[in-house]
């Protein structure tokens, strides 16, 4: 993820501690953590109780930044597109197939639409972005919840797949009439048109640092495992979510040294601090709200080495 690339480099240059990050997908990260070959993994979809039970030892989640999944599209000259929940459901389930459909026009009276086919681009690989997107769709559309559901990988009713956020972004950019969902940073970096999505208060919101931060004004449980989609905050962008780093609560495993464990939690403590969080905006992510930072710090202080907490 662009955020991790940025802050990891900064941490290394400031402290000299070498950090490497492999962007292989959260599945690979979780697998590597299970096999205990990495210090920590990262994921956009927190491990549910069933998955947690499958891990060899207790795992804790540290939220690190807030991101948004945007609805990106390619319609030259058609800006400020507003898509209601119903429209999203109909488009992504294949019931509306052309841009000049009267339903889209009715929702956007000020815009003119070409008679063009709608090409839905989804992910061909498993992804946390898909998880956040489908979690939102399941909350706002019972049809979607019944027929498609939520998950990192889905059986899509219509559309074509592209690999990775960059793949989807590239395909949308190259294909007139395309629409899809991508992580916010890719939409902004490639200057792809994004649609306004209607949140639960009825307001049409464009994804931005402010609207994504508003989505985090929710009750965050102590273990920070919560989905922030369809927030009740009237200013919130409804397809937002945390991303987490996961690590073992008890750090003394497989001959792991205390220094290594201490270095890991010290780094993570820095990651949720103001200094690192201030970098989030550079890559179009939103910093963690104070409530989440506090909970993260509490969790970090519960991480132990041979039973003794590493941080005070």
């Amino acid at each position: 993820m662009p955020y991790y690339n940025l802050v990891f480099k900064q941490y290394t240059s400031e402290t000299g501690t070498l950090l490497t990050y492999g962007g292989i997908g959260s599945g690979g990260g979780i697998r590597s953590l299970t096999d205990k070959v990495v210090d920590f993994g990262a994921t956009d979809a927190y491990l549910d109780d069933a998955k947690l039970a499958e891990m060899p030892a207790e795992v804790v989640h540290i939220p690190t930044v807030l991101g948004a999944v945007v609805i990106a599209y390619n319609l030259p000259g058609v800006d400020n597109l507003e898509l209601s929940d119903k429209l999203l459901e109909k488009i992504f389930m294949g019931e509306i197939t052309r841009w000049n459909d009267p339903a889209i026009k009715a929702n956007n009276p000020g815009l003119t639409f070409p008679d063009m086919e709608i090409t839905f681009v989804h992910r061909s690989d498993g992804s946390g972005t898909t998880y956040i997107f489908s979690d939102y769709m399941s909350k706002v559309s019972t049809k979607w919840a019944d027929n498609v559901g939520k998950g990192k990988s889905l059986q899509w009713p219509v559309g074509m797949g592209a690999k990775g956020n960059p793949g989807v972004a590239g395909t949308i950019k190259q294909t007139e009439g395309a629409i899809g969902y991508i992580g916010s940073e890719y939409a902004f970096a490639q200057k792809i048109q994004t649609a306004k999505v209607q949140n639960s208060a009825g307001n049409y919101i464009l994804p931005s640092i402010a609207s994504v931060s508003a989505a985090a004004n929710a009750d965050i449980p102590a273990d920070t495992r919560v989905m922030l989609t369809n927030s009740s905050d009237p200013a919130a962008y409804p397809i937002s979510g945390f991303t987490w780093i996961i690590l073992y609560k008890e750090q003394n495993y497989d001959g792991r040294s205390k220094e290594q464990a201490l270095a890991t939690v010290t780094f993570l403590d820095w990651l949720v601090s103001e200094e690192a969080q201030g970098q989030a905006e550079k890559v179009h992510y939103a910093p963690l709200p104070e409530a989440a930072v506090q909970k993260a710090k509490v969790i970090l202080r519960s991480v132990t080495y041979s039973g003794e907490p590493l941080l005070k």
């Binding site: 697998r31 690989d125 498993g126 559901g149 059986q155 899509w156 559309g159």
Partner: protein, 283 residues
């Protein structure tokens, strides 16, 4: 005498190692695929649902088998006239000339272009051309993937066929000429029949290559995990779905992907054996 023994031992050891590796691969593919076949039975092979949603997971290989075989067959059909003409050009008509050398080099160059570069070219160059010709699905689909595959496999069929054609004994051709045969008659009544088995071998080889091609296909086929609804529709192939979904897969999904890998392995092996059988029959 000692060096003889040592050489023999080294040769035996290397051959044995290769056998071990090949056997090991088949074994790990098979054992990885067992959970999938346990859950779905042989219905996995003709199951046409690929549903990775948690809670209702159901996997079947048919959409991918269809996609793979369809794209490879169409690619073979498209490339056949092109590579046959090229091999006649290089091996018969202009054999030994400078023109043939240049063309031969260009064809070999095609073989050296990495798959991902083909995919890139197909995405940014071929697709817009097909869109302007009125192709649906924004230029993604079985047809586009087949075209790219056809271009990729031309060099394999061409170089093998050219070799075999040039190996046809000169006496045969001269005898035919002396009987009054025209150039065309010599080629189609003498050269091609004698080179038949080699030419077919070339096509089997290129078909096998097309079956396993991954990157170029995955960028152009649309990655829709269902049986294509039309010739210009989107679909997916075995190699492509593995490449896409392997990273995030675990449990039953991982086993299903490995099972697809095993099936691809078996299909490719089957095609190669079929090729050998045909060649034997023709000799």
């Amino acid at each position: 005498m000692n060096t003889d023994k040592i050489t023999k031992a080294v040769l035996f050891a290397s051959s044995f190692l290769i056998l071990l590796i090949a056997g090991g691969m088949i074994f790990s593919l098979a054992s990885g695929a067992v959970p999938a076949f346990k859950s779905f039975g042989l219905n996995f092979i003709w199951g046409n649902v690929w549903n990775p949603t948690e809670g209702s997971e159901n996997y079947g290989a048919l959409p991918f088998i269809v996609g793979t075989v369809l794209t490879s067959l169409v690619a073979l059909l498209i490339s056949l006239p092109l590579s046959f003409s090229a091999s006649l050009f290089l091996g018969e008509y202009y054999h030994g000339t400078r023109l043939a050398k240049i063309l031969g080099t260009m064809v070999d160059l095609l073989a050296g272009i990495p798959s991902i570069v083909y995919g890139l070219w197909g995405f940014y160059v071929l697709r817009p051309v097909l869109i302007s010709l009125g192709l649906p699905n924004q230029g993604f689909g079985i047809f586009t993937a087949s075209i790219i595959l056809a271009i990729m496999i031309i060099p394999y069929a061409t170089s093998l066929s050219t070799e075999i054609i040039t190996m046809v004994p000169g006496e045969l051709k001269e005898a035919a000429y002396s009987l009054g045969a025209t150039r065309m008659e010599v080629i189609f009544s003498v050269v091609v029949p004698s080179a038949r088995s080699g030419i077919i071998a070339g096509y089997i080889l290129s078909f096998g290559r097309a079956l396993g091609e991954t990157m170029a296909v995955t960028m152009l086929i649309g990655n829709a995990n269902r049986i294509p609804d039309s010739f210009f529709g989107t679909g997916n192939t075995m190699a492509s779905v593995i490449a896409n979904q392997f990273g995030e897969a675990d449990g039953l999904k991982l086993s299903s992907l490995i099972a697809i890998g095993l099936l691809l392995f078996l299909i490719t092996g089957l095609i190669n054996s079929l090729g050998k059988f045909i060649i034997k029959k023709m000799e």
